[in-house]
Symmetry: C2
Subunit: 499 residues, 2 copies
């Protein structure tokens, strides 16, 4: 700690105000030294992270096992602080031993690569350190969020709507579930679920695990998520949904929600939205679409190597992305060429969309969008805290959107998406989506050509599922031993990247 | 968009791979231009935000009403992207019209000021863009989170425990509520609340509004939060709690949780934790302590002016903080001098603690800490997603803590607290807590001396509640008109800061 100022020296100054042993009006911190520290650290960040982002010769990660890494890093927080040089060294070590998700060879879940615009937006956000609950503290960020939500709604195809950015797609799905429940029976907000019939919701058996988490957290119960059978491509079978809704009704339970998945975790399957919308309409069920894309990412399909296999369930799945930088529309919505995959999306009551994955807006950037424009979101979530949401302010308090959230402090996540969109334009985003799908197509052709690679199925989207069968297993018979050995391949591969 | 490369030019190159009209192996982005953009933007951030952070002569905010600000900012996202110079100008405008929460005169809710170490940690986080679910993608950040949680547990006074960082104190309170419910009846995770007796929880009538939000979200219902009367200082009255628990039992409902507040929003009151712990023990109730500090902040009490009044409920409340920089322990826990306020905290089953407010770790940095060390957190929250949490990895998968969370992608928020703690040391943090409370004491003495200021009550913590009565109202009789006019004072004051 270099900011300490000698107490004796301060006390000798005129007008020193001493209260409870503390000199109140003395400088407690040297802001110039603080600024110098930030400058020095920024230099390290630029050199070690940003400039190395597209350098394939750099390591993805200086891998260490947990116990070893604990020894290397000086994790202990002590009574006495460290000098700036030591703290800067800590910063270097943190970077050194962290996984570079920007790296062209980062093939783990969900995202990879760097977007310079969203990165700058995030730096601005951290420097300003705002919280978006009221217009008076976040004027710019609230207007930006409004503009981004409006634009996303336009792409979904709704005439109007509402929305909010949340800390993650899983949380967005929870929001939708709670909103659907509120619409079904507003009294639940005050009375709770006790004594009510069993609420039941429907999602495909390939849906994301956040459906179960949400059902558990919201007091609905994981058993009341009825999983609908999927076809051989991983898409929900509408006839099976119809059957399950009828089964729930016969049981005397209360069906209230169907969650369709647009881009499943493993196969990248799109549920047939239009047909599901028909069933929802018929039975009066809330129709939510989870288009929070998931899966692994392949940075450079042009350099396909055995090492790129990664295990997920029983097969490897890789989302193809551009060589240097990827940014998909959080879905195919952005691409005029590929948005047909989401045919029927405009009939949804709510949509979860994560620009932080394919669009590279940075963790976390996740929106829940709602078709309703009668204030349902606010009615469902508001608690009307008097200390934050006074109604007698000197501006239009409808801009104080914080009460639509389960959070109090909330980050301005829409801003990073906005700045990126401004810089690239819709056309720039669209080009990336098209490029990503072209890369997936290329990968498929490569897999077909190369020995030891076995395509699981023709992808309709960007998830390419295949097996890499190493030479030692190519002559082996299909059976438990074969599959056990094959599964080990993906684990071994990870090590290759970090060597 | 300056990164576009002429397609014709690329096609003429050897080995161009064209798929679906996309050239796959051409550069789609000039990373040097991207890096230059980041450098230019960082310069703006340093000059316009960081270096101006402690300059009282700068404006807190270039205030504009919503409709006017929309006109000024170019919010529309278009088909075509903007050039770097235009995007840099947008960054300048965003900064210009945003509220500077770092500013010495920022007196709105929850926090103010700048901490250079946590800021650097946040920059590192944004550049690396990690997600903390598995050790393989976030080795450093998961170990850091473990170390920070261990240290926080030490300060609470537990021998062991568990914990997780969440997107906000409200979410931490939800986690605790769900955890208490799971402990009360693990079957709820699968079966839900339907058909069960009415669950009831207890919190003081001065508790944070997140209790109601949580009860609503979790399907418990806001009416099943029994609000316990407080004394004249805003503290929960234990005898009233006892009565309400008995009332709930008589009604045939199922009491399961008591939420005590350590530092209420307005008065900064500390519920009597030790006595509440007795009642919880007697009745077998989960004991949660919400020590997510709230209220407004006073940057510079040495320059007390009428303008510092801000309305909350019926009185003004201001948390005193150091002149240049404030950082309290997220509570008084860090200070040997003041931790007596939290006497009995070690008896809690769970604690919500936000280092992002008083400790200035940056939005958001919020921990839920749990005394249980038998894996309750994981049992309660896990969904065991196969694509993320494989059990056959090549390292100890107990470090894959993501399944303790309701989130999938999760930010490494513990890191900013850790780097700050490393730099300042516990002593540095402690000095700030002591300083903040000394400032509060000074403010109280000033209020007593100055005409037109009326102290509401002697504070026990850092919330100083008082009225500023302007000259025009000083001779007026107490009555509805007087209060109506007095309430308007706080709204008018806000304008002063932004002029």
């Amino acid at each position: 700690m270099e900011f300490g100022v000698c107490k004796q020296e301060m006390l000798q100054k005129k007008n020193a105000v001493l209260v409870d042993g503390v000199i109140l009006n003395g400088p407690i911190m040297d802001s110039k030294a603080g600024e110098k520290f930030v400058e020095d650290a920024c230099k390290i960040i630029m050199e070690e992270v940003v400039q190395k982002a597209d350098d394939v010769t750099e390591k993805v990660c200086e891998w260490q096992a947990p116990e070893k890494l604990k020894q290397i890093l000086d994790l202990e927080m002590r009574d006495t602080g460290e000098c700036h040089q030591k703290v800067l060294q800590l910063c270097r070590d943190v970077i050194k031993y962290s996984v570079k998700t920007n790296h062209p060879r980062f093939f783990n879940q969900l995202y990879a690569g760097i977007d310079y615009y969203s990165l700058v937006a995030r730096f601005i956000t951290e420097a300003l350190n705002p919280s978006v609950y009221t217009y008076e503290v976040s004027p710019v960020f609230l207007l930006v969020e409004e503009a981004v939500i409006k634009k996303m709604i336009e792409f979904i195809g709704w005439e109007e709507g509402d929305g909010i950015f949340n800390p993650g797609g899983s949380v967005s799905n929870m929001y939708a579930m709670n909103l659907a429940r509120y619409k079904f029976c507003p009294e639940i907000k005050e009375k709770g679920l006790s004594g009510l019939p069993r609420l039941v919701l429907f999602a495909s058996e390939e849906c994301h695990y956040s459906m179960k988490k949400a059902a558990s957290f919201l007091g609905i119960g994981t058993e009341n998520v009825y999983f609908i059978k999927t076809d051989e491509r991983g898409k929900m079978i509408p006839e099976e949904l119809e059957k399950q809704v009828q089964r729930a009704r016969k049981e005397g339970s209360a069906p209230f929600l169907v969650c369709a998945t647009a881009g499943t975790t493993v196969l990248g399957a799109f549920d047939p939205l239009d047909k599901i919308a028909d069933i929802c309409e018929k039975h009066g069920l809330w129709f939510h679409v989870d288009m929070v894309e998931r899966g692994m990412w392949l940075e450079s399909v042009l350099e396909l190597r055995p090492a790129v296999t990664l295990k997920a369930k029983k097969y490897s799945t890789i989302k193809a992305k551009s060589k240097i930088q990827a940014s998909w529309g959080g879905s195919a919505l952005i691409s005029r060429k590929h948005r047909r995959l989401l045919h029927g999306i405009h009939r949804a009551d709510s949509v979860a969309w994560n620009p932080h994955k394919m669009l590279l807006a940075g963790i976390q950037c996740c929106a829940l969008l709602v078709k309703d424009n009668t204030g349902l979101l606010k009615k469902c979530y508001s608690a009307e805290a008097a200390y934050l949401f006074q109604q007698d302010k000197f501006y239009d308090v409808s801009y104080d959107t914080g009460d639509k959230s389960i959070q109090c402090s909330r980050r301005p996540d829409a801003f990073k998406f906005w700045l990126m969109w401004k810089a690239l334009g819709t056309t720039g985003l669209e080009e990336r989506v098209n490029r990503a799908l072209a890369l997936a197509r290329y990968l498929v052709e490569e897999i077909k050509k190369r020995e030891g690679f076995q395509l699981l199925l023709e992808p309709e989207y960007a998830n390419v599922c295949f097996w890499y069968i190493p030479p030692s297993l190519r002559k082996m018979e299909d059976g438990p031993e074969f599959w056990q050995k094959l599964h080990q391949v993906s684990v071994m591969c990870y090590l290759r990247f970090t060597d």
